[in-house]
Amino acid sequence: MTSIKTPSTERPTPPDSTPTAALHSGTNDLRALVLNNLRQSGIYVALVVIVALFAVLTDGVLLSPGNITNIVLQYSYILVLAIGMVILIIGGHIDLSVGSVVALTGAVSAVLVIQQGHPWWIGVVAALVVGVAVGAWHGFWVAYAGIPAFIVTLAGMLLFRGLTLRVLDNISLSPFPSEYQQVAAGFLNGLLGGQGFDAFTLLIGAIAVAGYAVSGFRTRVARIRYQQPVESFPLFVARVVLVGAVLMYFAWQLAHARGLPIVLIILAVLVLVYGLLTRRTVFGRQVYAIGGNLSAAALSGVKVRTVNFWMFVNMGFLAAVAGVIYSSRSNGAQPAAGNMFELDAIAAAFIGGAAVTGGVGTVVGAMVGGLIMAVMSNGMQLMGIDQSTQSVVKGLVLLVAVAFDVYNKRRAGTAR
């Protein structure tokens, strides 16, 4: 009892002088900040190291404008799946069926648009409806029938793969009309012109940086008003400049290739929305509460079944979004589409710091985890490393990431 220190009574400044306080107060203790966020910062560091490593190994090809665009196009649907997956994992569940659902939603869309000649948006809407229905099916069995998600979605994996084969009559369908292909292969380019680069992409990049800086500053002001510890102002500026530089470099490279991919806009919106959903809404809080301690959540009045149900509906919706992107990118529907996607999405969530026991994880973390996988795959492909080695390396990275997580938790002493 006595070992717990009383709080450092560092009272920044009275509330009324917040604007100036935002410039002057805060801690400079970089070491403490880094240590406190080791879990999160660990994966950022890992991403930077891996990017640097492969940039060197591929003689800079990895960071070339064309390749960066490629990475975005190639892994966007895994990242979309990882958003839904990390939410399920935080809630203490899992979904093994998302690969099959990607295939099924793509197949439904292809049948309507390619075979029956409906307009492209009918295909998109139908895919989303099917995805939500699949999610409701899983949610019913997990939340109301009390069957573990592992079993329900394992069954779903077989079930929806089978339905895909039936819908497609076991053949591939191709091609989609050009509007549909735009979803995954389209770019916003030349809207504002530019000399050898796309000014619009740079503008969007600049807006993103400005948004990051403004929202960061507002959070900072609010925190100081509520007398919460914040980083020192120079440190804050350094962070904004660093993130801004990375974003602008990224935008610059895209602008020199084909412009702003439409799928990147979709992804950015999803990350923003789900980032807020998990951190700032009652629903998000209840997901963390259920995963952290199911009994305590239930005894705090959380409607556990309802929350579980909607988590799965949401996963179905995102699987359908991924299904549309994937079918658009592959320009058709194949019976074997989406095979093993679930494993990539699960790996992304765990590498991104989600805990196997539930209750821990972030959407942004899962995105970084997914990018680590993406950069590794892409880098190894560029180097011409064969599939078998790639698989071994990715397996080991997943294992090490989770081992690190378990070790961290044991050290934190929250034995449960």
């Binding site: 510890p229 301690n293 009994s295 305590a296 009045g301 934190a412």
Partner: protein, 512 residues
């Protein structure tokens, strides 16, 4: 006759921050039934864990002599090899295995081929079952047996290990009257066969019926050993031993001025969630604004079950009875409805049921009333911090920041976080289940002060506690609960530890 089979000498066992046993000496004569009794948390179970090697040699001070030889048990296997077998209160049978498989679990008899000879095992099991008076086929899965019969299987399992000293931890706590009587008969029969028996029990009528001697444990010390054959030993005498101490903590004073009735339950009946027995039967009680009402009862009396069934039916099934809040009958079918009706329940097991240990203080405090901090489903994070900060200061939660992870706080501070969480729901009645369990004296005093503040603010409080001095020090009125029934109700001025203990151990008298 005065031949000692077991001697535990000067046993001292400490856990971090707590001394569970202090200088305990226990002598058991060969062939006797030796009862051990004491309040919850007195150290009975710890003593038996030391004896059976669950707490291995070296983790405690003192020595154990069995048959005159010093013993150093490193684990259960060591003690069982010497014929000491413990049967825990929570039965340790594997439900889907057969009786015979359970009896020989970990002790399988292999034939010459190295494989288990099931014909032999089943035949042996049948003999053992006959000796405990259980007429069941050895291949029957244990899950198909009632608790009473499972208890007999445990004893048969002990006999298969050539038991010489059998330890039973509250063997009849989960049994009905007929099964209990049968078990006591069996213990007498085993005694005839020369098996010594140590029995931990709360049921004083059983102890007086069957035990040859009784050792009373209180606050980690062996207070006295009574010879049950002498004339002046009766239930009252044992109770005096169990509670005989002064109020050893200080309870803050409080002006008592109860107002209108806030909560009343009538004829409340709850069935066990899986077993076919009543856990709470026909209970009625009430609490008024500005009043602290105590519920006294021993382990297994149905205290927590009663509280949780009232709190949104979070325990049991077939719950019947009427619930009134502010004189109006309400239906609280879910926890959310209970909270809406102004009921809060602070659990006895904060780590399992009260807190999200991997999350921070702030989010734990807001967890039960997020709707108060949110609009259209969006949580106002800054207001949340403000609320948590206010709780931290009001409750004096010692944490570096409200962003600190709850799992790292001490027990007392964790308890304050749980209390903060429920106070933030702005309840009219708080049910506090063992509010000071596992926290140190200083934090206890703080919790008592908080309770007094709540009552002064007009809240109604129900305190469930195993510590009689705590109930006597804090409550205005006390109900006693035994075997799921209210056995008494009295104003605190009329209550003593002895009178409460008598009502708490009042059970239907047993045959034999």
């Amino acid at each position: 006759m005065d031949d000692t089979i077991l001697e535990m000498r000067r046993i001292t066992k400490t856990f971090p921050g707590v001394t569970a046993l202090e200088d305990v000496t226990l002598a058991v004569r060969r062939g006797e039934i030796h009862a051990i009794c004491g309040e919850n948390g007195a150290g009975k179970s710890t003593l038996m864990k030391v004896l059976s090697g669950v707490h291995p040699s070296g983790s405690y001070d003192g020595e154990i002599l069995f048959d005159g030889k010093p013993m150093q048990f490193r684990g259960i296997r060591d003690s069982e090899a010497n014929g000491i077998v413990i049967i825990h209160q929570e039965l340790a049978l594997v439900p889907y295995l057969s009786i015979a498989e359970n009896i020989f679990l970990g002790n399988e008899r292999r034939g010459r081929s190295g494989l288990i000879d099931w014909n032999f095992a089943n035949a042996e099991a049948a003999k053992l079952l006959a000796s405990v008076g259980l007429h069941e086929n050895p291949v029957t899965p244990v899950i198909q047996l009632g608790v009473g019969k499972q208890q007999l299987v445990e004893i048969a399992k002990a006999l298969s290990k050539k038991v010489r000293l059998l330890i039973l931890d509250e063997p009849t706590a989960a049994l009905n009257d007929i099964d209990s009587a049968h078990l006591l008969d069996l213990l007498r029969a085993l005694k005839e066969q020369g098996i010594t028996c140590i029995m931990i029990s709360h049921k004083l009528n059983e102890i007086t019926a069957i035990a040859d001697s009784t050792t009373v444990i209180r606050d980690g010390r062996a207070v006295e050993t009574l010879d049950m054959k002498s004339d002046d030993v009766n239930q009252q005498r044992i109770i005096r031993g169990m509670v005989g101490r002064d109020l050893d903590s200080f309870y803050p004073d409080r002006e008592s001025s109860p107002g209108d009735e806030v909560l009343r339950i009538e004829d409340w009946t709850v069935r066990h969630p899986v077993q076919d027995r009543m856990v709470v039967e026909g209970v009625g009680l009430s609490v008024r604004a500005g009043e602290v009402v105590g519920i006294a009862g021993l382990m297994g009396a149905g205290r927590t079950e009663l509280a949780m069934s009232v709190f949104g039916r979070s325990y049991g099934r077939d719950i019947r009875g009427r619930l009134f809040v502010h004189g109006r009958e309400v239906q609280a079918r879910t926890v959310a409805e209970a909270i809406d009706n102004g009921i809060a329940y602070v659990t006895e097991d904060r780590k399992r049921y009260g807190l999200n240990l991997i999350d921070d203080v702030r989010r734990n405090v807001s967890a039960a009333a997020l709707d108060r901090l949110s609009r259209l489903g969006w949580v106002n994070g800054n207001e949340e911090i403000k609320v948590a900060e206010a709780s931290r200061q009001e409750m004096n939660i010692r944490t570096p920041s409200v962003m600190a992870v709850v799992g790292k706080l001490s027990g007392g501070n964790q308890q304050k976080v749980v209390l903060s969480k429920w106070l933030f729901t702005d309840p009219d009645v708080l049910i506090l289940d063992e509010p000071t369990r596992g926290i140190d004296v200083g934090a206890k005093y703080e919790i008592y002060t908080i309770i007094n503040r709540l009552v002064a603010a007009g809240k109604a409080v129900i305190v469930i506690s195993s510590e009689l001095p705590e109930l006597l020090g804090m409550c205005d009125r006390i109900y006693t609960l035994a075997a799921g029934r209210i056995t008494g109700e009295m104003p605190v001025a009329e209550a003593t530890q002895e009178s409460l203990m008598e009502l708490m151990t009042k059970d239907k008298e047993l045959v034999g």
